[in-house]
């Protein structure tokens, strides 16, 4: 993202890596070759221009397994410059092993700085959470996406679903939601609640909890979504309308934690996860660990998205 415009002794990518002590002479800067980066950037620009539309791209095999964040990783690597500060979270947690692995790969391949601090990061790659702390317009949030197609479970054919999006033919989606209410009393989607972007495309927000869905609406931040295995990139640009699908008499609701607080930090009004203990007890902690750390340290954090 940040471009290297300062005068440098070496202008070659390999020289730059060597300057930083890297030993990846067999690989390009940021792993991807230039053609791959260019293609991903083109797809990203198209995705930003058509909010919520899934843009196919020639997803590359990455040095981590497909299905483990390769879509997000390709976006991150196509954007990152050596002056960026990169944060990676998995389920909100910077210390989760896959997040650690992805973050060190990005740092190794680019010389970018690693950070755990949401406010400090220029690029945040995430799996299944949007940070509690409000993000700014100079930051980008990159989602890892397992299944980019919100219609997949009502129409398994990719070709047919693509046609439905083109024609904005979402009647079967609405019908499925209606049938869900008839059968279960409410819309049962938990993580990955379908949303309407810019009044045009239904979009899979990746399996973020309902808690995070309202943050997508009219945010200052650019949201990019990368599905490596499924070879799709899509985006929600800043200041875009994003609405959860709902009926007038069955309004969308987020998760409720009934006054529970994070046991570690004391933070309230945050997304909590439960750790069952012995004797039927439960321990509740904030899933966003950096936010919990800040609250515990007495730092004031804006979380009014």
């Amino acid at each position: 993202m940040a471009s290297a415009t300062t005068d440098r002794p070496s202008s070659s990518v390999r020289g730059l890596i060597a300057e930083r002590g890297g030993d990846f002479s067999g690989y390009s800067f940021a792993f991807l070759d230039d053609m791959a980066k260019r293609e991903i950037r083109r797809a990203t620009l198209k995705a930003v221009a058509i909010p919520g539309h899934q843009v196919p791209f020639g997803s590359r095999e990455m040095p981590i397994a497909r299905g483990w964040g390769t879509g997000g990783l390709q976006l991150t690597l196509s954007l990152v410059g050596s002056e960026d500060r990169v944060k990676v979270i998995d389920q909100g947690d910077d210390a989760s092993v896959n997040a650690v692995n992805l973050r060190r790969l990005v740092a190794q391949m680019t010389g970018a700085e690693e950070t755990l601090d949401t406010a400090e990061a220029t690029l945040i790659q995430t799996r299944h959470r949007i940070p509690e702390e409000v993000m700014r317009d100079d930051q980008i949030l990159i989602f890892q996406v397992p299944i980019p197609e919100p219609l997949r479970f009502i129409e398994r054919s990719v070709a047919v679903a693509r046609g439905m999006h083109a024609e904005q033919d979402y009647s079967r989606m609405w019908l499925a939601l209606y049938e869900d209410i008839v059968r279960r009393g409410e819309i049962s989607a938990g993580a990955g609640y379908p949303v309407m972007v810019n009044s045009r495309f239904i979009m899979a927000p990746s399996p973020i909890p309902r808690w995070d869905i309202p943050k997508l609406n009219q945010a200052d931040t650019l949201f990019l979504f990368g599905a490596g295995r499924e070879k799709r990139i899509y985006a929600v640009p800043p200041h875009t309308d994003v609405r959860p699908l709902e009926f007038e008499d069955y309004a969308f609701k987020t998760e409720e934690f009934d006054g529970l607080a994070c046991e570690v930090s004391g933070a309230t009004d945050v997304y909590l996860v439960e750790s069952p203990g012995e004797n039927g007890t439960s321990r509740w902690t904030a899933s966003d660990t950096n936010y919990a750390d800040k609250v515990a340290a007495g730092i004031e954090v804006n979380k009014q998205w």
Partner: protein, 375 residues
Amino acid sequence: MGYSSVRGGLEAIGHAEQLIAGAVTDTDHEVGVEQVPGHLELLLDQVMGEGGLYDPQLGALAVKQAEGDPLEAGFLLRAYRTTLPRLGYSVPSSGRDTRVLRRISSAFRDIPGGQLLGKTRDYTQRLIDFGLGQKRAPSEGSNGTGEVNGAHATQPAEPLAPLPDEDEFPLVIDVLRAEGYMAPEPSEPVEDEPFDVTREPLRFPTRRSARLQVLARGETGAMLSLAYAGMRGYGGAHGYIGELRQGDLPVVISHPVTGKHARIGRVPVTESYQVVGGQATKADERPDYTMGYGIVTGRNERKAISMSIIDGSLKKEHKTGASIEDEEYVLHHIDAVEAMGFVEHLKLPHYVDFQASLQRTNSVRKLVQAARSNG
């Protein structure tokens, strides 16, 4: 620092890496990479085929590094291959040009050029050769006759028949074409340049070159299973192997300066021509048979035959609605890197999503309880 740092993700990863490295190198009898092509050739062939990169040296490294896991080794090759630039494409080669080492037909007893059994385990008895576990004197292992201690030691080595010349083996499929049982070969290539599945996402319906690429890189076990299901009644039919051939296929390019064709080497391949019937109907007179085609690098007859069965099923005009006839179903699910990646990603934490799911379940429970208490 807060609690997030106490779990020591980085430290744990470091230890895991040490354990893996130890499995490959910490031993008195470390497997030499140079042993892989000679001794584990079929494994290497599978890895290179599914990895989409024919390079025995790199493939051998991948096999060693992956502790012999063919899917992991293929993945290593893919993750390296994808960083290489594509310099160009070869000129289309035909199976007719293969330097044949083995070829059989099960559709005809006698075929032009004759059947050539070649190197196969098909008619061997699957008895464990306990003699292989015994140490041999160094000289015995390299006498070039294939003679080993144990069960085979008593059998005198027959001198092998000389290798046949090229051009001796016309394709069996041409016989069927000449007699009008099968549509003639297209007069010119259908596509000028192949669709490249490593550079572009698939679009359905796919072009022929895209379909064949995905099948050729597919995972052997997955394709075997699909082909078997098709034969058992879930879609396909019991076709016939018009021809199965194994040998070295020349790779020819257009010389970048002169434009003349130049052979730059050969790649060992296994080819299967499946004869699938049932196209003609009372209303529509046409050649009854169509060809299902399979080709894989190296020696992998199981996958080549499976591929030709799947290709034949995908080509069928009168479909039964089975999975093996559905292009999206087949091509989306046979890739080892994609399938194992997504299935095994379930090992990643999902507690945020699961919490969201529990909340919905509890919500429905409350609704049910409220409804019951209201009578």
